[in-house]
């Protein structure tokens, strides 16, 4: 796969790694070798397998099949051996202890490096690490991390990953390191990466800013659907070429049964945001929220829900219903029966003089069981007796039961099998045709093609609005990954 084999043996390599999470294939036979003195750019859309691959590389996950070879040895590979090799990771979610000072975090991160007078040593280490990567950073190493700005915290985390403490860093994995840095500081980081690589170090750089990857990486690997689809030297890629590589080659577009709203429609709700485009939703419309995961889609849904949901007094007819993405965490009531899980959203209309009319409850539950096909012999069984896909159907039915004109969906089909997905797509289309509006955040681009209007999010704001035939994988990818210079193209 690697067109430019080097003389040096790889520092770390995985061969034919395969990993499944339940229904989802996260890695489908990935082979990758990391050599000393290279910066590997890793790009791909949601679910392409980047994070899973990083977790295999750093030893947090072990693949179900395939081998990890470090420094020529195919032994045990876990977090401890990864650290022993000199592997350091900077994750997207900050992994410092916010209640400790910068120096104390250095103490935690570099275990076994310090003597009895560790406080002064840790201060010096943190200061030197920051000076090396971000000259003129202005960060007090005795300040508590929680008191630093987000960008400063990220700078601390990056600097400590590169720090010279005990075992030198040989392989640094950076997952979206510049997401909260301004251009000047990001430039300092990229310059440091080049210096580090020139000195024989290895860096894996994951970023949604393609211009950064193109300018810094020596080699770029593009992933899609758990596979490596391109692996070439960085200078053979262009920005447009990268976006094209991330998309699928040719797939027929399926968009049946769209109700073909066109022209200006009166919006049901408009959610203005601090930055970016306002999100408009009209009755009978399916509005998609897309872009890379964690770029503000869930926050937007929450804000919309909080605005419309009753604060003190719940009326009989709710204005909004919410289908949670994290089923176990904020969806199902795990100790209740299927029926009760279903009807909780409509208790107000099922109650007579404050008591729940159990016959009406059973009737409405049976109606929805038939309508969306919940596969269970008895709705009195506990909800956990259902498969994940059927649990999700119950949550859908719960939201539809509430008779709210607007349904918000927070990536509800994650990890649901294809058959159930199709059934739910049909229900959504039928309900939209009947005049209900949906706001649908999904990490899967194909699902966006079922929408009437799509907003692509980047860095906490909607940056592109696509309607009708302009909704395509290519357009969504281009908008999610755009660097500063492709803003116009989106």
């Amino acid at each position: 796969m690697i067109p430019h084999m080097r003389d040096m043996s790889p520092l770390l390599s995985v061969s034919d790694a395969r990993l499944r999470f339940g229904e989802v294939t996260a890695l489908d036979g990935v082979s990758l070798a990391l050599h000393p003195g290279e910066c590997l750019g890793l790009v791909g859309h949601n679910g392409a397998g980047k994070s899973t691959l990083v977790n295999v590389l750093n030893g947090s996950l072990s693949p179900h099949a395939g081998r990890v070879i470090a420094d020529g040895h195919a032994g045990r590979w876990d977090v401890t051996t990864a650290r022993a090799l000199g592997l350091r990771c900077v994750f997207q979610e900050l992994s410092l202890c916010p209640n400790l000072t910068v120096a104390e975090n250095a103490r935690i991160l570099h275990r076994g490096h310090f003597g009895p007078r560790w406080r002064a040593e840790a201060r010096r280490l943190a200061r030197e690490a920051l000076d090396a990567v971000f000259p003129g950073h202005g960060i007090d190493v005795q300040a508590q991390v929680a008191s630093l700005a987000l960008a400063q915290r990220q700078m601390v985390e990056i600097a400590l990953a590169f720090a010279e403490a005990g075992r030198p860093a040989r392989l640094v994995i950076l997952d979206e390191p510049t997401s909260s840095l301004d251009a000047g500081v990001a430039g300092q980081l990229l310059a440091h990466i080049r210096r580090f690589v020139a000195g024989g170090g290895t860096v894996v750089l994951i970023s949604h800013i393609l211009s950064e990857v193109l300018a810094t990486a020596t080699r770029i690997v593009v992933m899609k659907d758990g596979r490596v689809v391109a692996d070439r030297p960085a200078d053979s890629f262009t920005q447009a070429g990268l976006v094209a590589a991330m998309g699928s080659t040719a797939r027929e577009r399926r968009r049946p049964g769209r109700n073909g709203l066109s022209g200006p429609v009166t919006p049901l709700v408009v959610q203005e945001m601090a930055r970016g485009l306002p999100v408009r939703v009209a009755a009978g419309e399916v509005v998609g929220l897309s872009g890379l995961a964690g770029h503000g889609q869930t926050e937007m849904l929450r804000a919309l829900h909080d605005r419309l949901a009753p604060g003190w007094i719940a009326g009989r007819r709710p204005k909004v219903a919410y289908v949670a993405g994290d089923r176990r965490h904020d969806g199902i009531l795990p100790l209740w029966s299927i029926r009760r899980n279903l009807t909780i959203s409509a208790l107000a209309s099922l109650a007579r003089r404050g008591l729940v009319d159990e016959r009406a409850e059973a009737a409405i539950a049976e109606h929805w069981r038939a309508r969306i096909g919940i596969r269970s012999p008895d709705l009195g069984l506990p909800i956990l007796s259902l498969s994940g896909g059927n649990q999700q159907k119950v949550l859908f039915a719960r939201a539809l039961l509430a008779e709210a004109p607007l349904v918000l969906m927070d990536d509800p089909l994650r990890g649901v099998d294809v058959g159930t997905k199709q059934e739910i797509y049909d229900i959504i289309r039928a309900e939209a045709a009947a005049g209900r509006a949906f706001v649908w955040y999904s990490t899967e681009i194909e699902e966006m093609e079922l929408c009437d209007r799509v907003y692509v999010f980047r860095e906490g704001a909607a940056v592109a609005e696509l309607t009708g035939d302009r909704i395509s994988e290519a357009a969504i990818l281009a908008a999610s990954f755009a660097g500063p210079d492709t803003e116009a193209a989106a």
Binding site: V79, T80, R83, C89, S95, L96, C97, P98, N99, L100, E104, N105, R107, I108, L109, H110, R111, G112, F114, W118, R119, A143, Q144, S147
Partner: protein, 313 residues
């Protein structure tokens, strides 16, 4: 430069303490003396020790609901076994510290909620204490009595001891590597584990330290009261939690301060005396003590809100 939020946090218990002390002196000027101060803060030392014990548990994001019962148990052992057969008493107290460490291990390994485990343990400690000492009684070992009633020149014993205890606990929790790891577990358990530390070890150490300070609290209490009773310290559970929070700690996130916790404990101890000087009927005292607590904690919430607004700006 604006004072850091930590400084404001730490200042609050001292301001509250100063305000209460001012109130007491205004009501009863004669309290402004060596003997007066000694009497005012008489029972502060065991409360401060129990608060520090609770602080170690809160530092790892847990909560100990058995603190009062445990201090009572330690007091009963001190007043009986430690007095009569010192080696056996010492052994029992050491074993109880080991039980605390084991609790930390169990809570961590089985992922049990600490509140439930310690609530259950509170009945165990109380039951053991009643078995040891069915009726109030026992006697303080002579050396302990001497230690707790010593009259150092210039500064009352209660204050001097509080200072020493705060300093010792501060060294452990803020300056030692162990303290950093314990607080790190409270702040971001996953990143501590990723860096190669044993979170199990850290939690067990935090619980063992809590057990140690709990034992010291029980011993100090007996040294002051000269006898013990199984129910002697049941209030300490809630007092210790309130003291930690009053002293700038947070329930989650590993933000604790040893100096603040001791100041918080002194404030709570003084609140009782202050109300007595107000000639408030004893029927109302517990309620009024609660009102003072709510007032000071409301100030804390206000400061937190200011801090958050600043962070956003």
């Amino acid at each position: 430069m604006r004072p850091s939020s930590d400084l404001i946090r730490l200042a609050l218990p001292f301001v509250a303490l100063g305000a209460l002390l001012g109130g007491v002196f205004w009501l009863q000027p004669r309290a402004m003396s060596y003997t007066g101060l000694n009497l005012l803060f008489n029972l502060a030392v065991p409360i401060a020790l129990a608060t520090l014990a609770q602080m170690f548990i809160i530092a790892v994001n847990d909560l100990d609901l058995s603190m009062g019962a445990f201090v009572g148990f330690a007091a009963c052992v001190t007043a009986t076994f430690l007095n009569e057969t010192p080696w056996l008493g010492g052994l029992i107290l050491l074993a109880s510290v080991a039980v605390y460490a084991a609790l930390g291990v169990v809570i961590h390994l089985r992922r049990l909620p600490a509140i439930v485990v310690t609530l259950g343990m509170s009945f165990v400690w109380l039951g053991l204490a009643v078995m040891i000492l069915p009726a109030p009684g026992g006697a303080a070992p002579g050396w302990l009595r001497t230690l707790m009633t010593v009259r150092p020149p210039g500064i009352p014993m209660a204050l001097a001891a509080s200072l020493l205890i705060a300093l010792a606990a501060h060294l452990v929790v803020a300056r030692s590597a162990l303290g950093v790891v314990i607080r790190g577990v409270g702040g971001n358990e996953r990143s501590v584990a990723r860096a190669g530390w044993s979170v199990l070890h850290a939690r067990a150490a935090a619980y063992a330290l809590a057990g140690l300070f709990g034992v010291l609290s029980g011993m100090a209490l007996v040294g002051l009261t000269t006898s013990a009773d199984a129910n002697i310290a049941l209030r300490y559970t809630l007092l210790s939690i309130a003291g930690v929070i009053l002293g700038g700690g947070e329930f989650v996130g590993g933000r604790v301060s040893a100096v603040g916790a001791v100041a918080g404990a002194l404030t709570l101890a003084l609140a009782g005396s202050f109300l007595s000087f107000l000639r408030l009927s004893p029927d109302w005292q517990i309620g009024a003590q609660g009102a003072i607590l709510i007032l000071v904690l409301a100030l804390r919430l206000g400061l937190d809100a200011i801090e958050q607004r600043r962070a956003r700006a």
